[in-house]
Symmetry: D2
Subunit: 364 residues, 4 copies
């Protein structure tokens, strides 16, 4: 279950403080030009220490591609890759050998496996998401050739949230601030909040919105492989993600059907009426109807909880169940949202490419 | 992609107005007593026409089990089953042969497959969920022997929602009203609202909450097979489901980490401290940490949109893209929530059983 | 594990003496004309009682298609189907409730599942292969549109075997005799041998050869999804199949490399030299090199053991391990080869279609 | 399709002359002691240059384990590993950029992917099997704790083959000679033959026999996941393997059923007669009946062709289809059998462990 996807498949390995993290991308289409500069730029977006509001860990995160690329092109064979774990402060974690951090995976891994690598969260560490960003970067290289674009941004931090939906913002501004929010004013408020929270030794949650443009109609596999179900599973597999909604999502629950209908725009018929391309007036559906893309932009929102690693003492228990006090010492993010943006994009890109490839099998 | 699950797998077939709908359950554990009365009772909970606030279609929905059961016990071999499509008013749908219903799957199926069975939504009809209830009933028979209980209820209809979380209600009251809400007062208001909406020829959305009790610690497969990701995909594969959140979900986004921590309760050590069972004070996590169950009750919420089939004329287009008026004639639910409750339970039960079985492979 | 295939997937259910056997075909391409007459003719080829050298059971084997076909065309949605078990002589099997037939699956099913349906072999009965022939018939309908043809024949029965390889026979003669052998003289000898064996209450094994023509180069998924590995698994999943070899197979073991090389025929270059189509002088490789089809005919051979159900008393034990005598009473084949021919074809057809569809995902 | 297995899964990457080859083992049971010395010894058995009858390439093949092992124990999380490609003579292969080697995968890869890494066979090189030996070594570590033992040996080279079945040999002698044959006399003849073939610049094929002892009854998943089908697919996925037979295999085709029956040995009843353990007099079935292990030793045979890389000039064509002469220059094995023995064992070990874990899901 360390594999994601059907045709385009990412398998990952690695613990936070092991020798390396990495993975294998299988099913990458052949003949796609490989842009290593772009790959490394994506890694930089996820990297700790990139701004004053993220953790001060300075991981180099240099990806080494080990196979599957020949003379600058993908060959269709699996792409092995790795990132060595260079900057390890394992001694920061010695105190955690026998202590369970509350609201972390320490206790559940111990119960499941009967033993665990306690250093830095081991396999449950968000360092694993590094491999997802590599997978996502390759997926984006393929999607680029199809004119499909994936963009995510921070739309809420704590009680500060954007007032409008994605269509009202210039998404090219996302990368212009540390919090990755396309609205400069809100971004400033969010940053300010994160600084306050950090000063308190606390953490804060938020929402990431993702928009996928250029997806053709027809992607999604009824009935259990609905595109929305696949996107939901992809997002909910990200550390700290507690919720997923697409289109109008939970907001639709309070509405009447007559308010939510995406009326078709009449159009002049094409030659083959079976395949006449249509557009809708509104897009409450979020680009997916009956689990299949309809050609409109796909958008969804992901809830991220405030992470449980506080920089102040908190009560917990050890493996014997005895009360103790936990004092986290490592370097941690007060708010994971800015660094989670590229991870959301990566998971979305891999999902869309996977379903694009799957959809090619519908007809002979 | 008409298969759900890893070890316990349900594959379904069938269109709304074809000969039959049904499926195959593979991976059902051997030696489980089969309770056919319970199975049929579960079907009755999903059945149209069960109350004045659901559609008046009166489908008998008599399940025939074709294999996999011998002398009252499961044999471990696949369970084939079917329900014949008896009460078909296909002529109700003749007008839909060349017309796309907005916010339905008509257009997307046509785009994907190049042709479609237009009668009653064909494969995209919610009649397919009947097979899920069968799968869920068998999963529940197995979970019952493990002391695992799955219960869902309607927690919101339109703007009427329950004030409290699930711990404040007596879940044995869920089936005492047509709307399947454990709070009698709210249930009455919800029913009243649904009647009003129905009188308007309109529809209304809502939220279903699901609670799973008795799940042992250790279920869930990192990193992509997180239990929450699997539950999310299961729910988002249900028709009209637009969102999923577990534990505190989206509400956590506005909170600080220090407010959301599930502190462990100190306990006296067991013999093997590696496996000391722990409980937490609160359960903001929703029974899952790091993608793995921690032994606390699992709870989550699913957003259901108001369905798009209105009983009043709405503008749409035909296959040529020409404007036309759609007048739905079939019998439809003004609110799918009451009938979706057993479907949510079924998907949850199948997911939990599947991960229970998967977890048996962790150790030799 | 009752599912076969990756994209084109057949899931089967049913016991020999249960209510019905059947299955679900998922991933059938959309828009393929459905030939029900052909489907039923394929069933007739597998049917017991079709000639004096097969079992006298007269199963009607009328397939009912329950979904996935609309107005004579496949819709791309799953095709559910079933065959009711009409002609059941369950009482023939009462004596087997507590007795293990040697070299059958009675004991192994009991050990695996802790219980079993003892009637007629239950799930382990070759009646399950009926569903494979249905799946194969649909696969053939799709392959027909691609110009791919699958033909199998009996090439050995006991010590009587064909002298030459498939290229020396007129495969259109296969169906002209009961044993399904393209050589009339050998066929007569084989039939004679089967009659003698039957008269002795005994059974006899043999070999089926299969030839697939028209397969384009490029099918097969390295490294574990080699086309030969998939074909081998498909054949070895058939009851009584004990061996598989492709191309020159075991005969190559005694040879030198210089004798076995398939030299390319020089050709005039095409416009795109990357895709110049080549042919080989010989075809020792059996149409597959490095696990990928090379455009030459694919051929392979399957070993079938003599089935263990004899029509004379044989010593065995009961569930308590006590010695007893088994006297089979049902109606059984003295030689399964003639009826296994369409099953081999069905498995081959499904495999090839599956890999044809998979291969579409290699490029964007 | 670069993944093997269901629960215990190996995914591999790497080309012959890329940066590294390696893989990820997922589903390894937790808490198994890791024996790195044993792992490296297994690698040495597959390594080129280990004797005068194998290729003179001297690959160090030092495995680096990157994750999934903590303080000497498996943690249940994925085991990433790699072997750097140190000793590359890529220039040996420059001449192959535009030339297709006959009976190799050059042409089929080119047809499938539209491009290929021509150096040393790229992904189709047998160097990929190195990763399988790593996977097999971990599987063996787990099987060892269950008392399951996997041993393979060379039973035929060219026209020299062992006269008896495996029960007549002392399998502890397999590693006492370079050809890996438990019969010293035959081994000497085989070595002599390989030397002659090598002197001719030619190659020679043969047969490997594998025996698995200690497998409990009950492994194997009907109907498509028969244990024999899984073993067959595993073996046929090995480079140069052209055939697979288990139990009496093709030899059964000429026999009568009465000769091939594995009669049960009467035994005194156990407490629970449903689970009385039985043995059979003979073992023509090869330890598998109805696709499920019966507790007897499992044995099978694999046909290996003589590899097509000759050390003398052979005619072939280039990408334009023009005739040319191929003169292989690298270092190659005149007979792959000795080095394939550990690969056969590795694939068998992984298959058995996978099905052992799968079988744990049959009961609650």
């Amino acid at each position: 279950m360390n594999t994601f996807g059907n045709i385009f498949r990412l398998t990952t390995f690695g613990e936070s403080h092991g020798t390396a993290v990495g993975g294998i991308i299988d099913g990458m289409p052949a003949g796609i030009p490989v842009d290593m500069e772009f790959l490394q730029a994506e890694m930089a977006r996820r990297r700790p220490g990139q701004s004053s509001i993220t953790t001060a860990r300075n991981e180099a995160d240099q990806v080494e591609v080990l196979s599957g690329v020949f003379e600058g092109m993908t060959t269709g064979t699996p792409i092995g890759f790795e990132v060595r774990n260079a900057n390890q402060h394992s001694s920061d974690y010695d105190a955690l050998r026998d202590v369970y951090r509350p609201s972390h995976a320490d206790y559940t891994y111990q119960q499941k496996y009967g033993l665990r690598d306690h250093r830095g969260g081991g396999r449950s560490s968000a360092r694993e998401t590094l491999s997802r960003v590599v997978g996502g970067a390759f997926a984006k290289m393929a999607l680029r050739t199809l004119g499909i674009d994936v963009k995510a941004y921070t739309s809420q931090v704590g009680n500060i949230s954007l007032d409008n939906d994605w269509t009202k913002y210039d998404l090219s501004l996302i990368e212009t601030n540390a919090v990755r929010c396309p609205d400069a004013h809100s971004a400033a408020l969010m940053e300010q909040l994160i600084r306050e929270v950090k000063a308190d030794g606390d953490t804060i949650g938020g929402v990431i919105t993702c928009v996928i443009q250029g997806v053709p109609a027809g992607l999604g596999e009824p009935v259990f492989g609905r595109l929305n179900a696949a996107l939901g599973a992809a997002m909910l597999s990200i550390n700290a993600c507690k919720g997923f909604e697409y289109g109008m999502g939970f907001a639709q629950c309070g509405c009447r059907g007559s308010e939510m209908i995406d009326t078709f725009q009449p159009t002049s018929a094409s030659g083959d009426s079976n395949q006449t391309l249509l557009k809708t007036e509104a897009n409450h559906s979020g680009g997916i109807q009956g689990g299949i893309s309809n050609g409109a932009p796909i958008y969804f929102r992901c809830a991220f909880k405030p992470v449980a690693t506080l920089l102040k003492p908190i009560p917990t228990v050890n493996r014997q169940g005895e009360a103790t006090i936990l004092q986290a010492r490592g370097r941690h993010d007060p708010c994971v949202l800015p660094r989670a943006v590229p991870i959301v994009e990566a998971m979305a890109a891999m999902t869309i490419l996977d379903f694009y490839l799957l959809n090619k099998t519908i007809h002979i």
